[in-house]
């Protein structure tokens, strides 16, 4: 098989995995969105923050691998903010950007 044919076969196979795994990846947004809403309202608890941190980390890895570098960058930025502390205004901005990302992903 030529290099080009191998690449096409790999891209097609990965696109199939993305279609199958998309609901699982999108489900990771739930905890992140809950944490952001709580941070915006000044009520983010430690358990939810840790869960959102975990999911943001997973999103960064998955989205980059499936060809959504902007989504991966946003997830990394969010992970960093959740680690360092997230104010109400920053949380509101993340909620908006996350909405745009979900539209891009066809959620």
């Amino acid at each position: 098989m030529s290099d080009e044919a191998k690449q096409r076969a790999t891209e097609a196979a990965i696109a199939g995995v993305w279609l199958r795994m998309r609901p699982t990846v999108l489900a990771r947004f739930t905890a992140v969105e809950q944490a952001l809403a709580a941070a915006r309202d000044g009520a983010l608890e430690e358990g939810l923050r840790e869960q959102a941190l975990h999911e943001a980390h997973k999103l960064a890895g998955s989205l980059g691998m499936f060809g959504f570098p902007e989504g991966s960058d946003l997830a990394k930025e969010l992970e960093k903010s959740l680690r360092q502390g997230l104010g109400a205004a920053a949380a509101a901005r993340f909620i908006e950007r996350l909405g745009d990302l979900k539209t891009l992903l066809g959620a």
Binding site: K6, Q7, A9, T10, E11, A13, I14, V17, M21, T24, V25, H57, K58, A60, G61, S62, L63, G64, M65, F66, S72, K76
Partner: protein
């Protein structure tokens, strides 16, 4: 006419995330013609490494229960698996993290998220395999 013996390399992929394990498997099999043995935890990796004796191990750093560095230490402690080269897969790519991983004695580090089109080439380069 002499027969050409083709030896396929075998690699154990260890990652707790299904999608990452599956894409890495496809990428190595299709782009690198490398046979893949999947494992979803450090414990499973130790067992499969001992039973299958792969040519190398691609090991995620951040996993629940037993993380990548702990799994690596266990692999080093087992006589059968001590010599198997290990490449870490991690989102921690700052120079201090890389130095810490290099000090462990691993063969190399690949950053997450990885590019599925480049993964086989990166793995082969780190392990000195012909891509």
């Amino acid at each position: 006419m002499g027969r050409v013996r083709v030896t396929t390399k075998r690699i154990l992929i260890v990652d707790d995330e299904d999608d990452i394990r599956e894409v890495a498997k496809l990428s190595l099999e299709l782009m690198g013609a490398i046979e893949v043995i999947p494992a979803s935890s450090g414990h499973e990796a130790l067992e499969k490494a001992r039973l299958e004796l792969p040519d190398a191990i691609l090991l995620d750093v951040m996993m629940p229960d037993m993380d990548g560095p702990a799994t690596f230490h266990h692999l080093q402690a087992q006589a059968e698996t001590r010599a198997i080269p290990v490449v870490l897969l991690t989102a921690k790519v700052q120079s201090s993290d890389r130095r810490q991983f290099a000090d462990l004695g691993v063969q190399g580090v690949i950053a997450k998220p990885f590019d599925p089109m480049q993964l086989a080439e990166q793995v082969c380069a780190l392990l000195g395999w012909r891509a």
